[in-house]
Subunit: 350 residues, 2 copies
C-alpha cells in the first residue's frame, strides 16, 4: 500500500477538531496500546483517567467530579440521556432540547428509543417559554447548550435547570465545544452556576487532547450507576462506558494537556480565538457581508452559493449552517495569516 | 505533572488487546488528528476507511463489503442489534444469544431497550435446540459467537443463521477476536459459509491495529440505512456510526496493517499462537491441572484461588472466567519465553 499522508489543517475552517498540543501528542503516542476500558489490567492509564476527570471538574465548577473520558461528545450526550431515561419510571420518556442541540441528541433518541422534543429558538438561544411548554410528566431530561455548534451561543442554563428540577427531570448541559472557553467569560454555564446534573465537555476539541477524548461529568457518582453493566471476565467488575475497549491515547493526552494548559494556557488560547473572530467579523462587515455576532469564537456569515463553491474548489474546508451561512470555527490552528489568506481568496473570487 | 509511562505487555496474559504492529503504530501517529467522522473535511482518512472495510470483507468472505471502522467490538455489537431492532416492526423486540455472548450484548440490551434471551450452552457452544426454543415472532436477531471471550469456541454459525432466516430475523456473528485467526482454520464462520447478515470483526485485537479500531460489516449496504442520522452542519449529509468524531489513528492503522499482514502475516501469527496455546496446555497437563481444550488459542485452566492471588502479586495480569478458571489469551505479545517465566512462577508458588 502506498504510504498515506493526512491533510494538514492549513485550510480547515469549520472543524471542531484541531491539531493536538505537542504534550498531548506525545502522551497519546506513549499510551497508544493501553486500554482504559480494562482498568484492572491497565492501571496507569486508569489513574490518568481519574486525573483527567479531576481537571474537567475544576474547569466545570465541580469539585470531586465523577465521570469518565468518553469517545467524544456524541457518546457523552447519549450516556447523559441514558442516565436520565434509566432513572425515570416512565415507559414513554421524552427529552426536551432547544432546536440548536447537536444532532447527537437525535442519534440518542433513536438509539435509546426516547422522544426528542425540540423547542424553537429566540435569537439563536433556547426560548424558555417554548421549552416549558414541551415539558410534561414524561420528561426525563432538559438539555441546554453552552456553545452551540452553529453559532456558539449559550442557552440560559440556570433557568433551564430550574425547569428541569421543577419537572423532576435531569438537566444536561452540552458544553462539548464551549467548555474550554466559557471559564474565561461571564456566562453562567457550569455546575457551580446552576443546578445541572450532567455535562458533556470534550478535551479533544478546544482542550487540545488527541481524539478520542470526550468528557462526561455527573454531579453525583450515583448517577453513573444507571449505566453499570457487569463484566464477568475482566479484572474489574462493572463498566459504565458505552464502548468497551477504549483509547489510552485519548485518556493520557487529555490528562497531560489539561495539566499543562489549565488555566493560563487555555485562557491565552481563548483570547487569541476571540481576537481572530472579531477580526474576521470586522473584515466581513467591511466588505458588506451579514455576520451573526460571534458571542463565542465561531463566525457565521452569509456568502453566496457560488462563492462558497469557489472557496471549496480553492481547497478551503468550509461547512454551512442549516440556514446556509458559512461557518468558521476559530480553533487553535486557525491563525490570523490563515484568515488573511481566506479573505484574500474571497476578494479574488467575489 | 510527572511524566506517566504505560506498563509494558510483558506480564499481560488475559487481555484481548496487544501492542500494535510497527506499521500500525506509525500510521496511527501520522493520523492522530484526522477525523473519519467528518469525511467531507478529512478525505484521506475517509479513503483509508474504505480500504480497511475492503480488507475486512476479504477476511470475512464478503466481496464489496459495506460497514465501517467502529470504536470497538462493543459498538459494533450494539449497532448490529440496533440495525435488527430498527428494521423490525415489533415494539417488544428480543435478541437470542448463547450464554457465552460477550457482555456487550447485555449493554446493547439496556441501551437499546431490547430483551436479551440467553440460551444455555453445550460443550461451551450454543445449543441449537435451546436457541430455537427462545426464538419467537418478536425475535429480531440471532447471535452466534465465532471465538468466545472465555474459551475461544465457535458456535454452529450456519445452523444459527438458518434459525434466524426461518424466523425472519437477522443473524449477527461476533468474531471480534476470532476473525483474524478463523480464516486459517476449518471452521464455518463467515459470510461465505453462512447466510449471516452482520459481523463484528476487530482490527484492534488480533488484527494488530491501534485502538480504537473495531469493525462492523453488513452483507447489504441497505442495512446501514437503519442507522443513518442527518448531519446538518457537516460537509457530509448523514452519519451511521454510534459515535460522532472518530479516531483517524484507529482507521489509518487498521488500513495499513491489514494491507501488510493479510493473509500471510496473520497466518504466521496464528500458527505461533496455536503452538503457544498447545505448549501451555501440555505444560499445565503435565503438572496435573485441568485445562479446557484450546480450540482457538485461548487456554483456560483451573488454578487455586491462592495460586491466582500469588501470580497476581508477582505482577501477572490474569483474569478469570465466570466459572473461575484462569484464562490466558495467546496474543502476539505472549511469547514462549513469557509463558516459560509464567510456568516457572507457578512452579515456585504451588
Amino acid at each position: 500500500m502506498q504510504r498515506a499522508e493526512p491533510q494538514d489543517f492549513s485550510r480547515v475552517l469549520s472543524s471542531m477538531c484541531t491539531e493536538p498540543h505537542a504534550i498531548a501528542h506525545d502522551a497519546a503516542v506513549r499510551f497508544l496500546a493501553s486500554n482504559p476500558g480494562d482498568p484492572g489490567t491497565y492501571e496507569t492509564v486508569a489513574r490518568l483517567e481519574r486525573d483527567a476527570i479531576e481537571s474537567l471538574g475544576e474547569i466545570a465548577g465541580l469539585p470531586d467530579a465523577a465521570g469518565y473520558i468518553a469517545s467524544g461528545g456524541t457518546e457523552a450526550n447519549i450516556q447523559a440521556v441514558r442516565i436520565a431515561r434509566n432513572r425515570a419510571e416512565t415507559r414513554t420518556p421524552n427529552v426536551v432540547a432547544p432546536a440548536s442541540a447537536h444532532f447527537s441528541f437525535h442519534k440518542a433518541a433513536d438509539v435509546l428509543r426516547v422522544e426528542l422534543r425540540t423547542a424553537p429558538l429566540e435569537e439563536y438561544r433556547a426560548n424558555l417559554e417554548a421549552v416549558s411548554e414541551l415539558i410534561d410528566e414524561d420528561t426525563v431530561c432538559v438539555v441546554g447548550v453552552a456553545g452551540t455548534t452553529e453559532y456558539g451561543r449559550v442557552d440560559p442554563i440556570p433557568e433551564l435547570a430550574e425547569l428541569a428540577v421543577d419537572a423532576g427531570a435531569l438537566c444536561h448541559v452540552d458544553a462539548a465545544w464551549g467548555g474550554f472557553v466559557l471559564p474565561f467569560t461571564e456566562h453562567a454555564w457550569n455546575f457551580s452556576d446552576a443546578e445541572i446534573h450532567t455535562m458533556t465537555i470534550d478535551p479533544h476539541k478546544l482542550g487540545r487532547a488527541a481524539v478520542p477524548a470526550g468528557g462526561l461529568l455527573v454531579r453525583e457518582p450515583e448517577l453513573l450507576d444507571e449505566l453499570a453493566i457487569e463484566t464477568p471476565y475482566l479484572e474489574s467488575t462493572s463498566q459504565m462506558t458505552l464502548t468497551g475497549t477504549r483509547s489510552g491515547a485519548g485518556v493520557a493526552s487529555a490528562a497531560a494537556v489539561m495539566s499543562e494548559l489549565w488555566p493560563a494556557g487555555y485562557e491565552a488560547q481563548y483570547r487569541t480565538a476571540r481576537s481572530n473572530a472579531e477580526y474576521l467579523r470586522d473584515e466581513f462587515e467591511a466588505r458588506g457581508y451579514d455576520v451573526v455576532e460571534p458571542v463565542l469564537p465561531i463566525v457565521s456569515v452569509e456568502l453566496s452559493d457560488g462563492l462558497i463553491d469557489g472557496l471549496r474548489d480553492a481547497g478551503w474546508r468550509l461547512s454551512r449552517t442549516g440556514a446556509g451561512e458559512a461557518r468558521i470555527v476559530c480553533m487553535p490552528h486557525v491563525t490570523r495569516p490563515m484568515l488573511a489568506a481566506f479573505l484574500s481568496d474571497i476578494d479574488r473570487l467575489s
